[in-house]
């Protein structure tokens, strides 16, 4: 769920833009440095951006019988790391605002903060933590994608509650109101996105081992025998 154009008051729109800026600037600086050192990265990063854009356009069946879209932030963060996702997410959100009329330019800062900063960091943090404790790859991927999706909607609820406090119970009442509306639809969707991400990752382990190793998702046998064996077993499970 993107916050629509004009939905936030000007002060909130500016404040969320300021809050997002350090993450986007940090990601942009590392991306520019990477591209200057390895010019061929431009094409790979562009492909990653296009993949993120297309992933967010896939229609996901939800439990209510309707369709929704995955955020794609969990998979993106696991594959490309959160700083890169802050930039790719911002580019994707800009394209969505101008090409699809989803989200907006005045709400870009708020949407970047929830979808391109908090979502990827929460998802990637959970994924790394679980991998450190030797949780199987697919379990960690599911939790990463689930948390990335859910944290995005939690932050969106906070953003909306701050902008529109309830007349009776203030911020907390509004947070409960927006949170409960999101909970009905988003918890099943977060589970759906987690499952979809696992399905995608299983296929990628089979078909794109080279790319996943280059991205650091899988570790080569020379670099770490145990992890490689684990990746192999994940591939075997998928088969």
């Amino acid at each position: 769920m993107h916050i629509a154009e004009g939905f936030l008051p000007p002060a909130h729109a500016v404040a969320w833009g300021v809050a997002s800026a350090p993450f986007v600037v940090h990601g942009a600086r590392s991306l520019v440095r990477d591209v200057r050192e390895h010019p061929e990265s431009t094409l790979l990063l562009g492909a990653s951006g296009a993949f993120t854009f297309v992933l967010s356009a896939l229609k996901l069946p939800s439990v209510t019988g309707s369709c929704s879209h995955p955020t794609g932030t969990g998979l993106g963060a696991i594959l490309f790391r959160p700083p890169v996702m802050a930039v790719l997410g911002t580019i994707t959100l800009l394209f969505q605002a101008l090409l699809l009329a989803h989200g907006g330019l005045t709400t870009l800062g708020a949407n970047v903060f929830s979808l391109a900063v908090v979502g990827p960091w929460a998802g990637y943090g959970a994924y790394r933590l679980l991998r450190r404790y030797d949780v199987p790859l697919m379990g960690a991927v599911f939790c990463g994608a689930f948390l990335a999706d859910l944290s995005t909607y939690c932050v969106t609820s906070v953003q909306l509650a701050l902008a529109f406090p309830d007349p009776g119970s203030g911020f907390l009442g509004a947070l409960g109101k927006f949170g409960s509306i999101f909970a009905v639809t988003q918890i099943p969707l977060a589970v759906s996105e987690g499952l979809l991400t696992v399905l995608v990752m299983r296929l990628l382990v089979q078909s794109s081992k080279g790319e996943l190793t280059r991205l650091g998702v899988l570790v080569t046998s020379a670099a770490g025998g145990k992890r490689a064996a684990e990746a192999e077993s994940a591939g075997a499970v998928a088969r």
Binding site: A4, G6, G46, A47, A50, L98, F164, G168, A174
Partner: protein
Amino acid sequence: MLPIDAAAHSSRWRRRHPVDKAVLGLGLTVLAISLPPWPGAALVLVTALALLLGPAGVPAGRLWRAYRVPLGFCVTGALTLLVRVGGPGGFVSPAPDGPLRAGELLLRTSAASLGVLLFAFTTPMSDLLPRLVRAGVPAPLVDVALVTYRMSFLLLDSVRRVHRAQAARLGHTTRAATWRSLGGLGATAFVRSFDRAARLQTGLAGRGYDGALRVLVPEARVSARFTAASVTLLAALAALTFVLERPLS
């Protein structure tokens, strides 16, 4: 190509400099969220609609198909303002000024969306992105955005074709099959995007790629007359809002 971008390529204002259109379209959006919703946002809404359907020449059908998306979000969001949580009326009760707040929010968001649509329907992304370098955005970042933009259409097209092929193989007949197909679709998008990037890299290397993607940008100059007229219109809208605010409140 996506419908809004396709319309922008054949827009009457295509040859105008993006700065001209940004001053007008994004200026209207800023006014919509800054002025009092009544009558400010209402005036902005009418003006943006008149500009889109009149001088900009956007077909009404295309505009409606693009506009109904943000409008749906606006209506859904505004509905939450109709109720209050807690208070003397029970756990959930109608908010006393809910309809007024919801109406104001609806006016503001729909007017602001039309301002952005005025810009989007008249400015192709391929005209806008290369010019961002002159605005101070680092060139490598703009190059990544350009590759993302151009590759997105190809990838969307691939995904559509794969989806059709999956449907033809009865890949969407049951819920389990739908999930399997979706997983395959996501993985195919990843594989194809990386494969395309690798082939593009090989092709560009053969043409002496040195890290900079040079693209031709249509010549256009910022029109002082158009920009001045836009600023005058925006100032007039702001002044009219303050004049009419008290009598209409």
